[in-house]
Amino acid sequence: MPRTTYCQSPLVLQRRVGREVLITRVDYGAFDSLAGTAYDAWNLLGRAKTSDQVVASLAERYQVDAACIQEDVERLLEELVKRQWVTSLERA
């Protein structure tokens, strides 16, 4: 079954401000900001990861049940892909 991996897009221009990251692109006229758990998820995506791997890392970090955050993490990844901050790749 193919697995989808997610990774920060190389086109992103980013800067960290404490526990917040500011992101933009050359062709994007504004900035987006990721803070809190979204910031942690973003940092995990510096290297390609599956959504399960992101969920497991965040669950461990915040000491919560993985099932509780699965849906939120998937929604976040979907949004990041939609805004082209993250690239997704199907792997066999």
Binding site: P10, L11, L13, R15, E20, R25, V26
Partner: protein
């Protein structure tokens, strides 16, 4: 007195953050009474990223409201930095399309290529170095992309022959320093900047590989910036020198050659001395310093003083440049352009409400001479024995 300098404990802790282990008993608090001045200075010196890092490392203890203010200052600097990077990518694309190589200098290059996290190294403009022979082409190409020169040349072609860079701005006030060499003045005359195109590497920004100086050439440039840039030196260029001193793949033999052929030995010594003062100890083997200084001459020392002493304020750089320029004809061209600039240049330099005349311009070097010689004359007068008076017992 500044609330932040390399010699006070807070400045030292911030400057070393993320570079050198700092065993502290406990985090250093910042008194609320001095905090506004500390924040202003940290912001002015572009040390917000390093200050946040020092807090994260537990070296500085800030109150919540102090931390919030520091984060706001860092946010502003980071937004500016990534906005500049956006313009840098567009400018490099334009230059590349015109067949022009450009090396990214200082801020962006160091932030991405040398510092472990670009958030630690804010910057306020874009610095690009192009080959001397293509500098005018680059100027025209960037003009087509909306970047215009802010200042006129005293005479056409002055910067292309004697200057170090042109400041370009666009309608969004983004600044590009388009360099043909690394520094203004005598050292700029001695440095063969085109040779630096053989000392480059690449770094990625926004999916594009850009050229930067390799670590050795970047260290030489950081020393130049720290030693000859501002007086007193800003702390961030000093940190750049320290960061590069501890970076891998440094070619000290090449630094020795540049010390000799480009007269940079005194500049390196001055920069390393400043780093040692600020960091409390040298960051490299002391014998390296001695070998860099082997070939220094009196002319090099005088040239350094044109930047680092009071002479800087009174035409020191201009007079030192005359001595460094090769050929009598070129020397006359330089002096001629400064003394007899074209009318448009004079008008652009006139202060509001005052007329621009050649006489006013010629009075500038006269004032320099008066100010430079006054202390010497005073000293000479003080050394004269007091004339005898009527009340003198002799």
């Amino acid at each position: 007195m500044s609330e932040l300098s390399g010699s006070n404990p807070l400045g030292s802790v911030i400057l070393k953050a993320g570079l050198i282990d700092q065993p502290l008993q406990q985090a250093m608090p910042v008194d609320q009474a001095v905090w506004p001045r500390v924040l202003a200075e940290v912001t002015r010196q572009r040390l917000t990223g390093l200050a946040i890092h020092a807090v994260e490392e537990g070296l500085i203890a800030l109150r919540d409201e102090q931390m919030d203010e520091l984060l706001i200052a860092q946010r502003k600097q980071m937004l500016h930095a990534i906005d500049l990077e956006r313009h840098l990518l567009m400018a490099s694309r334009t230059l590349e399309a015109a067949g022009l190589d450009a090396i990214v200098l200082k801020g962006t290059a160091l932030a991405h290529g040398v510092y472990p996290d670009p958030s630690l190294r804010p910057f306020g403009d874009i610095d690009l170095l192009v080959r001397n022979s293509r500098w005018r082409d680059a100027l025209e190409t960037l003009a087509q992309a909306g970047f215009r020169r802010r200042y006129r040349d005293p005479r056409p072609g002055f910067t292309a022959r004697f200057g170090h860079a042109a400041l370009l701005t666009n309608d969004q006030n983004v600044e590009i320093d388009l360099h043909r060499t690394l520094v203004a003045g005598p050292f700029g005359e001695w440095i063969q900047a085109d040779e630096l195109f053989d000392r480059t590497t690449t770094f990625p920004v926004g999916g594009v590989e850009l050229l930067r100086l390799d670590n050795t050439a970047a260290l030489a440039h950081a020393c130049i910036h720290a030693a000859l840039g501002y007086r007193p030196p800003l702390l961030l260029p000093v940190r750049d020198v320290a960061q590069l001193c501890l970076s891998p793949h440094l070619d000290w033999d090449l630094m020795r050659r540049w010390s000799c052929y480009w007269h940079l030995g005194v500049v390196f010594e001055h920069a390393f001395k400043t780093v040692a003062e600020v960091f409390g100890s040298p960051l490299h083997d002391g014998s390296v310093n001695d070998s860099l200084m082997e070939n220094r001459g009196r002319r090099d020392v005088l040239a350094l003083q044109a930047y680092t002493s009071q002479r800087r304020r009174y035409g020191g750089k201009a007079t030192a440049t005359i001595l460094a320029i090769r050929g009598v004809r070129a020397k006359f061209q330089y002096v001629g352009a400064l003394l007899f600039p074209d009318r448009d240049f004079l008008a652009s330099r006139a202060k509001e409400g005052s007329a621009s005349t050649y006489v006013r311009r010629w009075l500038i070097p006269v004032r320099w001479l008066k100010k430079r010689w006054r202390p010497a004359l005073n000293e000479h007068r003080d050394r004269q024995p007091n004339p005898p008076t009527l009340g003198d017992p002799k």
